[in-house]
């Protein structure tokens, strides 16, 4: 197994932990390096701040999912000592062969016993575990509460518009915040977040009046979406109450109301795909001030179907050090079961397990051919999606590159049919996502048959449909404009 810096960074909960691990390795804190004869376990002692060294090990029984163990009290997982041991492996430090330690052998035995038990259960009952019986009364109560909450949300929207968005300041803003919090107790965290976003947009105007136009437009867009959510959800929830159906359904409204999909539920509604192969096209990180969380987003291309998906790793600010971060991936992921969130366009995916391998040249050469036939199709598709009030106002697209160039100060993409689209940074993405200018810094000329991946969006400033480029997919590699 090849221990690369990127692999280690992928295991790390955050870059700082990896850096601390690297420092430990660099200053020679590790001693008594040992490994088992079959190379499935590496362990060593790491000098810590206490008088006794920590005992740290990496179990590679499953090479794609190393199990790290350490006697330190850190709540980060893996801790810096385990990451440091990985750097020791990457530096090819000598490890003496030794017998498997007793405690690890015991742990492995218990793990194997659990797996056997699980397997036996599958063989006996045909299913891995009996699905939990839903508590119908509780769910009915929840739906009723949500309906009550929707009435309250409607009243808030009405009040806000009656008095005007411009009045959302001072004590009225505080009352608004309080009411928004009450929506959370009605299981409507989706609308609650939308109200918080509206309040943030209006506050942005108060801080910087120059932003007024864009901020009010954003607040209104949110209000329009909220109105639509309230209207559609009321019908949706009433139908469910009438029908006595309380389980999640394949509808984007579930998430819009604040529902959180579990993989079992997605499987139950049939929203999954077997044996998918994904290649990451882009990765970026942003901060969501309304939810106070870091959003790590990956954009993926299904190398079989050509569909585009996104992964979202949400790390609340308060628990940033304890929730594992994601990172860019350059290998091909082979995923036995890919769970796809309901919705249209930019669909979110998750998976439980995946194996990785390098992308073969012939697989890479196919990727640009999975692009839309031309810009016209991508434009039509985008317009069709973003006009839906509940949908985000952008769509991930992979479009063929005919020519890239500039007209005046504007970057322009032209496809082989001569259709063009403006390439611009999406203002909502923020300055740290600005990457259009990097097109003029690309190290080499683009090879023929390349495609461009990015987010197509509506720019209200000049009412144009534009494309925020994220990466160039060539027959030889994926050149990322972001990360």
């Amino acid at each position: 197994m090849e221990w690369t810096e990127q692999f280690i960074l992928l295991q790390a909960p955050n870059p700082a932990a990896a850096e601390n691990g690297r420092k430990l390795s660099g200053k020679g804190s590790f001693s008594a390096h040992r490994k088992t004869a079959d190379g499935t376990l590496y362990w060593a002692e790491c000098a810590g701040s206490g008088k006794n060294s920590y005992r740290v090990s990496i179990d590679l029984s499953q090479p794609d999912a190393p199990v790290c163990r350490c006697s330190c009290p850190s709540r980060q997982f893996p801790c810096k000592h385990a990451l440091g041991l990985m750097f020791e492996l990457a530096a090819k430090k000598p490890f003496e062969t030794a017998d498997l330690p007793r405690d690890i052998a015991d742990k492995r035995a218990r793990q194997a016993a659990r797996a056997v038990k699980k397997e036996a259960a599958v063989e006996e009952g045909g299913k891995p575990a009996k699905p939990k019986k839903p508590n119908a009364a509780a769910r009915k109560k929840k739906l009723s509460k949500q309906l009550e909450g929707l009435d309250m949300a409607q009243r808030m929207v009405d009040d806000l518009l009656c008095s005007g968005l411009g009045t959302l300041a001072g004590s009225s803003a505080q009352t608004f915040d309080k009411l928004a919090k009450d929506l959370g107790s009605c299981y409507l965290t989706g609308p609650q977040t939308t109200f918080t976003r509206i309040a943030l947009a209006v506050r942005a105007v108060q801080k910087d009046p120059a932003q007024a136009e864009a901020a009010y437009a954003e607040a209104l867009r949110l209000l329009v979406a909220l109105r639509s959510t309230i209207k559609k959800s009321r019908v949706f929830l009433e139908q469910k109450l009438e029908a006595g159906s309380y389980s999640p359904e394949d509808s984007a409204l579930f998430e819009a109301l604040g529902g959180v999909w579990k993989l079992d539920d997605l499987r139950a509604v049939g929203s999954f795909k077997e044996n998918a192969r994904l290649v990451q096209l882009s990765f970026d990180v942003s901060f969501d001030p309304a939810k106070k969380e870091q959003v790590e987003r990956g954009w993926w291309l299904d190398s079989g179907s050509g569909e585009l998906y996104q992964t979202l790793n949400l790390r609340p600010l308060k628990a940033l050090n304890y929730v594992k971060g994601e990172d860019s991936r350059f290998d091909l992921l082979e995923i036995p079961a890919l769970y796809v969130y309901p919705g249209e366009g930019n669909r979110r995916v998750r998976w439980e397990s995946a194996s990785t391998r390098p992308l073969l040249p012939q697989e890479q050469s196919v990727l640009p051919t999975l692009a839309q036939p031309g810009l016209a199709e991508a434009v039509k598709h985008t317009k069709g999606k973003i006009k839906n009030t509940l949908a985000p106002k952008f769509l991930a697209v992979l479009v063929p590159i005919g020519r890239l160039g500039k007209i005046g100060e504007e970057f322009v993409l032209e496809d082989s049919k001569g259709d063009r689209v403006l390439l611009r940074n999406r203002p909502e993405d923020g300055a740290d996502h600005a990457c259009v200018e990097r097109l003029a810094m690309l190290p080499a000329r683009l090879s023929a048959g390349s495609a461009l991946f990015g987010l197509m969006f509506y720019d209200g400033r000049d009412r144009a449909l534009c494309l925020h480029p994220y990466s160039i997919v060539t027959p030889k590699n994926v050149v990322r404009l972001l990360y």
Binding site: S31, V379, K393, P443, L465
Partner: protein, 640 residues
Amino acid sequence: MNLQPLFDVKERLEYAAVAGVSLLGEDFRLQRAAEGLKPLAAASPVFGKIDTGLAKLLSAPPDQRPGLLLDVLALVDAVAYTQAKTGLDGELEPLPTGSGRYYPISYGQIQPLLTALTTTGGGRVEAVKSAWDRCPDYFLDYRILPALIGALGDSYSEMAELCAALLKKLGPSVVPMLKKGFDPAGKREMARRVELIAALEGETAAPWLKEVLPQAKKDVRAAVITALGAGDEAALLLDLAKSERGKNRDAALEALAKQDGEAVAAFWSEELAKNSAPVRFLNQTQADWASDLVARGLWDAMAQTLDQGGRVSKDDYARLWSWWTAAKGKFSPSMLDLWRWTDARMADIDKLQNHTGQPLRLGGQLTELMLDSLCQAGPGTLCGLCLELWETHKKEARWLSHAVVASVLTRPAADVYDTFSPYVPTIKPLLGIEEKKAFHNGVLKGLWRVTRDRDTGAYLVCGTWPATQWPTAQPLDKRWFKRLTHAVWKTPEGGGSAYRYGEKVEGFDTILMKLVDASDPEIRRELTPYLRQRMKVTGQYQTYSRWLFELGGSPQGVFKDSILKSGRPAYLYYIWELLNDAAKSLTLNETANLCQEVLDANYIRKEDASMALKVLPWTIQQLRAGRPFPEWNDWWNMRQ
């Protein structure tokens, strides 16, 4: 289709939402916009739907207005999206190709570096240095390179200078990126770009420099003018010296000092006749015209000073010294004549007094300056002059160090040793001790100017400002080490001393360690017992222990005595640092023995004494058990 009426409606609806729908009935502008939409409504059903929605909104009771407004707005937005324009007409200009590279580097690898380069706060310099140490190639990545260039304008100058140094290491491939987005009217960042471009492109940067010069302002202008000095731009610089003022004129003079030719020499002659202050710019040139000019000016100034005799005013001394500083490293025939004349008038020079009536000691300063000048100029006529002066005054030590340096640069190593080693006595003389000590110091002062480069193993004579390095004619004769280790006097004291951990180490042993080849077993055999003995005598265990580690030796056996001899109870942290260094070159057992000696010496300052009694036995135990030497934190946590 003209969609302006639709956008007018959208705008009015948005205003209404911001102002409040309760005022909607009085909004005549919205009503007018709704009127404007009517022709479109007649033409298309979707506009008809908007028109109907508007009519409903305008006639609705106040409590229904918010919902209706959002419904109409949703519809208007949807139409706006579907009617969005795409593309742009015009000639498509192909994009240029950048000069960076693309590496598949992950977010986790790029982001900390970009953060360090583009934000503020502590630890950024370290982050950039560590990233460079790990993978310098990544700095060429087309996403990182612009940030590295941008950091030339970092408000923390250490960061900006580090980035400039890294860009220089990346080589000429970064020049196109440095030129891209260059703002001639910019601030320090742009001036740094100019300096880098000039350093990376050398003389070939001249056309670009001339191109940007007319627009260049402030710092950038001064940098451009200075950079022009690297090429053959005498005519332009002469013009600039006439037209520029202040800092820019200084830059022009600095650049002109690097030029050659009659016109340049004539300019400088005229300039210095008017005002001698700019003579400082001639420091960095060794051209004959500059040398002659400085020699002539100095001769006049010195002659005038000596003719006046007695006291020299502060201003006169400063002016005189700026001329002498400019003479450093210059060796034209007239400069050599000046030195000969100075030597002849040395007795008068030594009599000069400062403005308070104290001895000026200009003679001593000039002797030092001549040594600096020799190290700057390297092998050549100045070496001949120094040997000539020494031959003329062999009875005094004034020119001995110069003769040593000149010989090291030009003569076989064995000759140098045979000629000068007798001045370093190994048996204490009975007569003329002070005089002999002066000669001993003269030789050591000469050797002080020689350094062994640890990377290449070459012996070098180093000049300063501008930094120069001249290889010696041959590697130093090894017999010097035996001679020096047996020398009677361990002076000069003023030859150099290293202060570490409060230890004042004499120049003599510092000179020895500057010359030593630690990989030579013969020298190691010679020096190890010597250093152990010196460590015991001086009590400077911190410095001498480290020198011993460098030679693969150990202070074991003399460590305790040296600690006791030091005369000051030790700080436990300094002891930890030393033992930590020991653990890097000695075995665990040897390190444990040193710990034991510290324990036996029992000479730790009283605040740390109880902690030492806990940590040292524990560390000995750890080391004997084959565990690594502990971190300071491990010791610190045991203090209770």
